[in-house]
Homo-oligomer: 413 residues x 2
Amino acid sequence: MDIDKANSEACERMMESRPLVVGLGKALEVIPDMREDLLLHAGPPITWERASGPMRGAITGALIFEGKAKDEKSAQALVESGKIALEPCHHHQAVGPMAGVICSSMSVYILEDTVHGNKSFSNLNEGYGKVLRYGAYSEDVLERLRWMEDVMAPVLNDAIQASEGIDIRALLAEALHMGDEGHNRNKAGSVLFTKILAPFIVRVTKDSEVAAQIIQNLGDNALSVLNPVMAACKAMVDAAHGIKGSTIVSVMARNGTDFGIRISGLGDRWFTAPVAVPKGLYFPGFTEEDASGDIGDSTITETAGIGGFAMASAPAIVTFVSGTPRDAINATLEMYEICFTEHKYFTMPPLDFRGTPTGIDIRKIVEKGITPRVNTGIAHKDAGVGQVGAGLVRPPMEMFEQALVAFAEEYKI
Amino acid sequence: MDIDKANSEACERMMESRPLVVGLGKALEVIPDMREDLLLHAGPPITWERASGPMRGAITGALIFEGKAKDEKSAQALVESGKIALEPCHHHQAVGPMAGVICSSMSVYILEDTVHGNKSFSNLNEGYGKVLRYGAYSEDVLERLRWMEDVMAPVLNDAIQASEGIDIRALLAEALHMGDEGHNRNKAGSVLFTKILAPFIVRVTKDSEVAAQIIQNLGDNALSVLNPVMAACKAMVDAAHGIKGSTIVSVMARNGTDFGIRISGLGDRWFTAPVAVPKGLYFPGFTEEDASGDIGDSTITETAGIGGFAMASAPAIVTFVSGTPRDAINATLEMYEICFTEHKYFTMPPLDFRGTPTGIDIRKIVEKGITPRVNTGIAHKDAGVGQVGAGLVRPPMEMFEQALVAFAEEYKI
């Protein structure tokens, strides 16, 4: 069996994927197999019992947002009774940052890979601090979600429909030349996204004050493009998934309790292990004692060759996640050790325009003893608090070892 | 005499200067001593006879724009007869990129240094290619200028008035962390400028199509913030000018024929020498044979510690001006050799957040034999053509030698 050939095909498909944001729609109407009694969440499958604080907080907030629960207790009862089911975003071609909870009445970005035809989805970004995706669900959090849902989402959909679709691969390629790495630093990408959308927003909105507020919200939120970027990465890795004989990682995702991966040549099986706690910088008043375990689908960025893998492009990120610009370069250089190839379209000026390390190969991880590097936000360990910092983390080695054993069994090597 | 103390004061004033864009106005109404029969231009004083092709082209275009001439011949006649006078922008607290021609009916950005109270001015940016500032004056060039004047400028003025003023020092500090150097690469700065202004533009404009067009124009022009940036740098160096005993360069400017400098401790006297031709990358169909001599007031950016001096922050610029990312870092490192200090607010992530080399000291230039490095656009040598490339250039050493001799005479050293 020619594993290199399979991996080459997987990486080629990942890099040639060209996902456009083509609109927004209610999750219930656009996400495959979405149901009213279903909540999607980040990472591999999880139960209420094993869920982390921020995951429980986000589930509670989403059920209050839907009018189905009034507090954490009633949310817990609904989930434990089975009246509300929990399934990973990844089982529905979707991704969500941090807790990643998507409920049926939420609007989501719709992305379409114009090369392979597959679709992907992600919710809207709420900004920093006290937000649902970090497990906060106070009235101001819900108020913002309602404004995003009722005011912002319909305008964004109209604006995107009026455009020819927004090419996220092109946007990312440009943002990587402007100091972003596409995961924890999306400052350039978010202003580029805003400047592309703004003229369309103005044209499709009758009320100019509403148009102004939406443009301001997108422009001032340095993560506004994160969710479309994650959905684009999901489309890219989905294009690389399911290649017979490939050892390329096609999903990395965390639910706050478990880290889970999937492998291109091993179908939809998850390989999981307990998450680590990120090391990083904390907001004033918080310490590592407050931190939840690693959480979120945003590791889809590293899986697609950006994020922690492209840190060399983003030296200024160290003010947010700790370390020095030299560490950022070293992070990228180390990732070449475990990747199958270098990206054709994502290049890094500080490394002489070398392509980002792309296509994580479990063979190399196990052989070299090097696990992927991930940039991430840090959630408070308790439900209801929110973001407390940002930092760096690595997935547990044992998942990759399990996956390699399973690969040998599957292909009788 | 304590030159170091004088230089320290000059640099301190330069760095503490905090210029805000506070509005726009017609040059005739807002620029000090502006007159209807006067054209301002880049660089030190020049006559029609000695003017370069692009300078003649821009003078012609401005006089056609004003309805005072109909072609190059009639423009020449007006200038040579003395009916139209030519004076440097720098004699009027103004700066203009490339030919830098500002006529009385043009709108200009008004900047105010909130710390020292001085004002500065610059015109609006037209974008790349065939534009007045590169000496082009065909009907489409004039059409664009009229749209900018009649449609864009009034809206920008209203939008800026509705804001609390736009802090260009803060914007530049952010843009230097996003791969800009502030002179030839203003991609991040221009989208930041657009995202700040867009909500105000939407609020002050009745016609949403007009608002959309203006936002799109600002956002798609990766140099839209160049002119406000230049005016901000002018305000900064003006704050540093006139310090008794200071050897700091307070103006560097070129008119396409002569390079001119002024020194903080030597009043308003120009020291000049013939310009060089930049080395760089040419647009398809053009070569170094087509290039005009070095031109423009945009060297005010290097004078204020950004542009070529901050190239380490902008590795991606080498795709535009030639060279490698390592050359960009070396350019900045070399400039520390001839500068008095390091900037407090302009820092560069790739150099571990070191401040940019700031305060060019003519003593160091002459002692070390190192001239400043400048990033620049390249104009066609003939009137009427436009931009043909971008590259790097150095000012002639003899000006700095003349200035140092004059300094020794002035202060009887």
